[in-house]
């Protein structure tokens, strides 16, 4: 069917490779969101403050990370290159299960690979707070992260993010729009894993809010992802957090000061 070929070709021109400054470490894909140099990718792809971008025509450019939202797994980057071919965002709120979708990305370092399938479902993922995700019956590989997921009109309706039980998981395009409009939501700056009594801290970002409150790797926060997510979105500057450290009979408390919200400096 010629439709897929045309859509794939247009998406390829708006899909970039996003890597760390060390060119041997290829980490993922990104989407040209507007023609004056705004690139969207996953927060887990853009880990540093400066990244390397390779455009579809082979040009390599330095990118500055403008904003990161680790909870929504989104990051925005800016490159100094005018006149880029940007994608057309679609309305992810209107998606229906069964619609055809097409993913473009750089899986396993292979640039511009295309895979197609259908929307599997749209909704929350168990244990990952209440936000909505798109699940797609498309074959993805690690380098697809940050790349576009488009509908049959070629509009980008999601950013490919993860593979869960074989299904592609994407951030809905409406969440991207909200992220660009409102900036990143506050986060603790930790990696968490659910355990029987709460959430175990697997890692602490050196400059994050949790590190400043002396939370450490191995501490177990009491409560669920949903509770934590609600607390972070409550608008308070300081959050009291209860946790265990080693001894599970003693509940400790930390006061985490969330960073003041910085509006995305376009």
């Amino acid at each position: 069917m010629r439709g897929f070929g045309e859509i794939a070709e247009r998406l390829r021109r708006s899909t970039v490779q996003v890597g760390a400054s060390d060119p041997r470490r290829c980490s993922g894909s990104g989407v040209v969101w507007n023609s004056d140099g705004l690139i969207l990718t996953n927060a887990h792809v853009a880990r540093a403050s400066e990244m390397q971008i390779e455009l579809w025509d082979g040009r390599r450019l330095e990118a500055r990370v403008i904003d990161r939202d680790p909870r929504r797994d989104l990051a925005s980057l800016r490159i100094a290159a005018p006149g880029l071919e940007a994608v057309t965002p679609g309305d992810s709120g209107a998606l229906r299960a069964g619609e055809l979708v097409i993913a473009v990305g750089n899986p396993l370092g292979f640039a511009g690979a295309v895979s197609t399938g259908v929307i599997h479902s749209i909704g929350p993922l168990p244990g990952m707070a209440r936000q909505r995700w798109i699940r797609a019956d498309v074959q993805l590989a690690p380098g697809n992260s940050g790349g576009p997921l488009a509908n049959a009109q070629g509009q980008v309706i999601g950013i490919n993010t993860a593979i869960v039980n074989g299904l592609g998981v994407a951030v809905p395009s409406n969440a991207v729009t909200a992220f660009l409009r409102q900036g990143a939501r506050p986060s603790l700056g930790v990696t968490l894993r659910p355990v029987s009594v709460g959430l175990e801290i697997l890692g602490v970002e050196p400059d994050g809010a949790a590190a400043a409150a002396s939370l450490r790797q191995g501490d177990i926060l009491l409560g669920s992802f949903d509770d934590l997510s609600d607390a972070l979105d409550s608008g308070r500057d300081v959050l009291p957090l209860q946790f265990f450290r080693g001894n599970r009979n003693k509940v400790r408390e930390a006061f985490v000061r969330l960073p003041a919200k910085v509006k995305a400096a376009a």
Binding site: A97, G98, E99, I119, H120, S121, G123, N151, A152
Partner: protein
């Protein structure tokens, strides 16, 4: 330009929406729910292998509400289980009037409590006539699916792009692919389960092994006999060679299953055995296979 593609996309989404109105999530095992389909008023069918408990089964209905369900019965042979619920459910969806052809697009539609209806798409990769499963049941058609069945897809409805029901999906009947249990098979099994609570399978109570006979014929030698089983009661002895059952020659154990399907439990079936080189006619009353066997 891409209008053809957009039209197909809309057709697929419409098929999912329509068929999804009769698809439920079934909670009868740990971790992953499975899917099920309203087959008749108040009757849901699902894949038997996803039912891991007989009590406290619940279903998530198309409107999102949870409701208790009772297990009316199940047939491991065809991997069909039948549940009953208070809710009547929607009117039955249109059936495909003929089995699909290889290469036809097919959708499997399931449901989960968290994110509602879900869909996967692929093609029908092979279709054949009547097929015996490794579990011993018989499907009216073998319909192999070239699509991904994710955890929770089993028991979901398999439809054409026009939304016509082909059957329900199961990952348990083939090691290499998903299979659609045909709608006609589900009708037959559901009828029997609703009438009798189970699917009874004919039973002779013999252990058989194919053997070559001197005149290039084949037969099945009796290696074991269930004590007081139907064959033992009729006078069959160990060492007899079964050459015909119900009037048709038998040279494989599959032939026996085929004959038994035509002879309900309690009916007499004529057997011909060779004993000491002499042919004898023996009438065996078909028994019911003991449960869990």
């Amino acid at each position: 330009m891409a209008n053809e593609l957009a039209a197909l996309s809309n057709e697929l989404a419409a098929a999912v929406e329509q068929a999804g109105r009769s698809v439920v999530a079934v909670h009868a095992r740990p971790r992953f729910s499975s899917s099920g389909v309203f087959w008749r008023e108040g009757v849901i069918v699902t894949a038997q292998h996803t039912i891991r408990r007989e009590e406290e089964i619940t279903v998530t209905l198309p409107d999102g509400a949870n409701a208790p369900a009772t297990l009316a019965g199940s047939d491991p042979g065809t991997d069909v289980a039948v549940l009953k619920v208070e809710s009547a459910g929607p009117a039955a969806a249109a059936r495909a009037c003929a089995p699909p052809a290889p290469g036809n697009l097919a959708l499997t539609i399931g449901r989960s409590e968290d994110s509602g209806v879900n869909a996967t798409m692929g093609i029908v990769s092979a279709v054949s006539g009547s097929w015996r499963t490794w579990r011993g049941g018989r499907l009216d058609h073998y319909i192999r699916l070239d699509l991904t069945l994710y955890p929770g897809s089993s028991g979901g409805v398999v439809v054409s792009t026009a939304g016509e029901v082909i059957g329900i999906a199961t990952s348990a009947l083939s090691r290499i692919a998903g299979v659609a249990i045909p709608a006609t098979t589900i009708d037959r099994v559901a009828d029997e389960i609703l009438a009798r609570g189970r699917v009874s399978r004919g039973y002779l109570g013999v252990g058989l092994q194919p053997v070559e006979l001197p005149d290039h014929h084949k037969g099945l030698i009796v290696l074991s006999l269930a004590p007081d089983g139907p064959a033992a009661k009729a006078g069959v002895l160990i060492g007899d060679i079964l050459v015909s059952l119900g009037g048709s020659a038998v040279d494989d154990t599959d032939d026996i299953q085929g004959v038994l399907e035509l002879h309900p439990v309690g009916q007499r079936v004529e057997a011909v055995v060779l004993r000491g080189g002499v042919s004898r006619d023996i009438a065996i009353v078909v028994g019911e296979r003991p449960r869990g066997n």
